[in-house]
Structure formats: C-alpha cells, structure tokens
Symmetry: C2
Subunit: 386 residues, 2 copies
Amino acid sequence: MEIDYALIAERLKLREEDIRRGFKRGIIIREEYKGVPMIAFRKKIKHIERGTALFLNENLDYIMGYPKIRRALVLNPTIKNYFIDKVVVEEKLDGYNVRIAKINNNIVAITRGGHVCPFTTKKAIQILNTKFFDNNPNLMLCGEMIGLNNPYVPHYYEEVDRGWENLGFYIFDIRDRETNEPLSIKEKIEICKKYNLPYVEPIGEFDKEDAHEYIKEIIDRLNAENREGVVLKDPDMAINPIKYTTHKTQCGDLKAAFTFFYDLGVDFMFSRVVREGYQAFEFNENDDALKKRALDIGESILYPMVDTIKKVHSGERVTEDFEIVVDSEEDLKEFLEYLKRLHMQFIIKNMEKIKADDEYKIKVKIGKIYSATNDKVLSHLNGGLW
Amino acid sequence: MEIDYALIAERLKLREEDIRRGFKRGIIIREEYKGVPMIAFRKKIKHIERGTALFLNENLDYIMGYPKIRRALVLNPTIKNYFIDKVVVEEKLDGYNVRIAKINNNIVAITRGGHVCPFTTKKAIQILNTKFFDNNPNLMLCGEMIGLNNPYVPHYYEEVDRGWENLGFYIFDIRDRETNEPLSIKEKIEICKKYNLPYVEPIGEFDKEDAHEYIKEIIDRLNAENREGVVLKDPDMAINPIKYTTHKTQCGDLKAAFTFFYDLGVDFMFSRVVREGYQAFEFNENDDALKKRALDIGESILYPMVDTIKKVHSGERVTEDFEIVVDSEEDLKEFLEYLKRLHMQFIIKNMEKIKADDEYKIKVKIGKIYSATNDKVLSHLNGGLW
C-alpha cells in the first residue's frame, strides 16, 4: 500500500517533508497489527513524541508517545525550583511503560517504542475493565506492566503474585490519546475507582518547600524494600512529572547491564554512576555509608562481568531469560513473530503446560541472545586483542 | 602559503584525494613550529599513522606517528597465540609517548597527536645526548616522558627525582622516522649504551609457552608498587608489541576520569572496568580478593565524583593542576601559546622562582579547566533536570 505522506502530515500537524524524511532516515517505520497497517515513530519529530503509533485506517487514528520524564539529580533545590506549590509523590514501579487505548474497536497495548505488543495487549484485556473505553474513546490508560513474568523487565513484585504468574498493571496517568493532555491526579483516581481499574496509589502530597525531606525518607524506605523510586507530580498535572530513583535501582541497572557488558555496558554505565554521585552527596553520607555505596557499585559492575566471562569460558552461551504465561500455542506464536519483527534474537529454553486456576496455560522460558557479549568475550578469551 | 597536495601525497605515498579530503574533514591540520609550517595527522589515513607530523620544508621531512599498541585482555592464551617463540617484557611507564627526531637541524619532540611540544622539546634537549642524531639522522627515539612535573600525565616516579623537578625520559623503541621500522631490542640497547641514552631496561625474556605465569607475577609486583604495567615485545621486533596493565592503573585512570566526570567519564569508564573484569577472571581471585577489587573500582568512581560535587557546591571551580619547571618567562610564554593553539583552557595558579642546582628557574602551577564538569554540576545542583 502506498503511504499518503500529505494526509499523515495533516493529521499530525507536521509538514509533509517531515514525514518523508522520517521514513527515509528510518525514524518512522511501517508496521502492522492484525492486518491493519500502521506507522511508529522511533524518535521524537517536533511535537510528535517518540513511540507515537498511527494506524493507517480511515481516521488515521493515533496514540501519542508517552512524554519523556526528566530526572532530578538532587531533590533539593530541584523540587522547590520546579513545582508550583504542592507536589504529589507516586511510587515509580520497575516494569515497562504501556499505553492502552481502543482503536478500530480493538484494545491495543503500545510499548514505549510505539509497537503494539501482542503479549501485553492480551494481558491488558484480561486485567482491565475495558468498559472504560466505551465511555472515554479519546483517553488512553498509561501505566506500568510489572512482575517477574513479563518479556521486558522481569522484576518480582509480591503484590501481583497469583502463584502461576507474577504480573500486574498499574495506571499512573490517564491522558488524551492524541494531545497527551493528562487528567488531574484527583480525576484519574476517581475514574479508576469508578471502573475498578488498578492504579498507583499516591504516597503523599507535600508543600514543595520541605517536600525533599519527606521524599528522602520515602526513598530510604523504598530502597530498603528494593523498589525503584518515585515520580513527582503537580496535583493538576499542570507541569510534567519528574522522577528520582533509589540506590538499589542504580545498582540493579548496572548488574543487568554488565551481565551483557559489550551489548549494554557503555550506554547504561555512566548515567547510573552519576546518579549515585549526586545521591551520595545529597544524602550526606558518613565514611562508612559512602564506602558501602562504593562497594555496591563496584560489585554491581564487576561481579556480573566476571560471571559472564566464566560462563563463556566454560562453553556456555549467556542469555537473558524470562518466563511468560500464555493462553495458547497460537498466542505464543504471535508473540514470537512479533519479537522477530523487532529483530530480537532468542531461543526457547523450556515450555510446559501449567494449571492456572481452573484452566490450563503454557509457561514458556525464552532466552534473549546478546551476540556482541557472547562473541567478543569468546574472542578475547581466545587471545583476541583489544 | 598554498599547500601542494600533490607533492605531500607523493611524499607519503597517498593519493592527492586523501590529502585533500583529510584537510577538508579536519583530520589533517596545519600547524607551525618556530616559523616552519607543518601539518599533523589527527587520525590514521591508510598507512599514515595518527600523529604523523610533516614539515613543509624543502624535503617535506616527516615523522611517522607511533603505531597503536594493542592490548591483551587475558595473558593466557594471548601471549602463546600472538608471539613467535620468545617474549621480552619491558615495564610500561605511566607518562606520555614522545618521538624525538632531528628535522631542519633542530631537535623536535612530537607528542602522540603529532604536535611539536615546546616544553618537551626543551627538556629532551637537556636530558639527551643529541649527538646520536648526527650519526643517525633517519632514526627517531620513541620514549615515555614521566614524572610529576609534566603537563600531560603527572605521576610521581622516585627514579627521576632531583629535588626541584620530578621528570625523566626513557626510550622504549628506536625506529626509522619515516617507515616506523624498529631496531631489535638488542640493537636498541647497544645504541642507547653507546650514546649514554636512558632506556627502559627489560625485566626479562621468556618462552612464550609459560611467559604468562612469570608475567602475572611481574604484574602483581608492579601493582604493589603502584606502577602501570608491561609492554610485551618480540626480541627482533618482528611483530608489534602488545600491552597489559595493573589493577592500580585501571583504578587510577577511573579516579582521574571521574574527577572531571562530565568531560572524561564516558570515554574512560567502560574500557577500564572491562579490563578489570578479565583480570579478576584470569587472576582467579577468591571471594575476598574479588570483593577488594570491587571496592577499589567503586571507590575510584564514586569518591572523586562526590569530591567534585562538594567542591562545586562550595563555590570552587575544579581544575586539573600540574606544576612544571621552565628556564625562563619566554619559555613559559611559548608553552602557554602552544596550549592555546590546542584550545586548552587553563589558568595560572602560581609562579615562583626556584633554585635549580646552581641556577634559577621558574616553577609554575597551571590549572586545566574542564568546562563541562564545572558547568553541568553547578546546573544540576541548582535544580537542573537530566
């Protein structure tokens, strides 16, 4: 099918030239979902956010990408300077960002990159009361899919455990799916309550002048519980939220990155240790606490790297494994085809039928292959020079 | 002066087009030294090494750049695979690489980047018996300028201390200055002895089959003495040398980089920790040793960063300071003008007349300014978002 650049441009209030060049430079790509052709924005182009997905149906329906949430490196004076008067603290969950909307009479779950993920879509339909969309066709539910049994960010959460699967979804924003205009926090909570939708409960609301003191305590508690951090919001969502994360999160990111260090190390490393630098400064640590932080950082970098080198040395091929539960072989096939379209290399490590409440489902273990790490470690162990 | 691309191309056995494009892309730049125009290669172009310096005199005399020395990540099996039969171990000194040659009847000291450094040139003439060049006009002395009182890599070495100055030069290769063809290690030592030139004494010569065992012990000793590492060479220099460095060096590099983390952190970080990963693996450390290494890495990253943030917070501007000794204000002026030509930002922090043996010299403390680190830390401390 020919793509009508002019029509898309008009719909998104871009110039035709922006669309043409976006395709040429690989920033806009063609996709399809259940036979409907669509396009995805891999980077921000003017006001169109990265991750925007536009369906090539009659209306050219689209879902705007989720806006980038910027980060405070120090709580004080950042909060004081940034917010208007009050600041609402919500927990930042460690999963993956999903936007859910109804398009072409279908519920779709869109990942950060602008892809309709078949796994996430299926789960969203099972988890959510989709009646919400009948009454609010222009709104999208923005939330975090969390838990051990997801393909992107497997991290165990006790509160979403049901024995055969650890997976859940928590809404953090409700926004207009075209303009990204958010509801206020109060409106969001009212709607979630009305439709019995799961949402991220605010931890508290503070005056911006002394919020940093309370938030420091919250961060200490979340860190002790191995949780990710906080998102700080204006009650009316009049300005963009900002985020701040725990020491454990920084270390966890480093561990994950250094397990596959030639693939992920460079990109992850610097930002994570810089966050630690500012946190150590602001949390005004004594010598022992600072030393403990340094040890955590060093171990998070060194240990996974040495483990990977040892594994490759012993002939193993290192993979990043995740386990998901699907309803049928057909669903699995659809998901694997999706991964292939995204050029992800993987192997199926295990597959078993499991009893899920009163029906049977399939639990499948998939190993994501990081080629650079496997190949380069092997080469260096065999005497390859750097 | 017009540059004759065709003539340069012919002299270097490149195509005229290579020279033309090199200039256009900023890979070849124009310089001058004592009124003689010259060009420097900032990157390798075909067989012409990075750091090659060509003088636009009648002969178009040039000094080939010092070849890149590649690195072993593991000693075993790299040494076994790489060398022919024997391997000579020389200590790798932690200073800066200099090539010294005689051009236009002048001795010049060229840095890795292909610049004639006036400071280094003056010192080289004072340190070396330059009669060598009268008898060997086509050879260059390749060596390491080391010691606390140098502008590039200030690192204290006991063996080059003479009270008022810590500076010395050790030759590691003698090469044809156009072809880079090296003398054998034996020939090099004979010539150095003949002209009483300082050279890096070999630590030992080993069979390649079990060299890694001896070298591991050498590395342990050098590490305990806070020294940089080793360069491994074929006795005849029939193949390129390779290098391997100590844990202390990796940590020292990290410390230096993270003091100015927004300027140097990204580039330095990954390679240094990866070297640690392989060394920890190969040195087969027990849990305690591995934990100690992790702590060292973490401290080398975190502590300088926190120090810098604290300093900037207290209103200080962080600089990388070095102290050098020059003969006269004129020499100082020439050197500072050289730094300006290289677009280095600096401030003079102190200047004093000192007694140097039986004459007076000037000791000057120069602070190199890293703008990105100063500016960004200040911005983030004031609430700037990332």
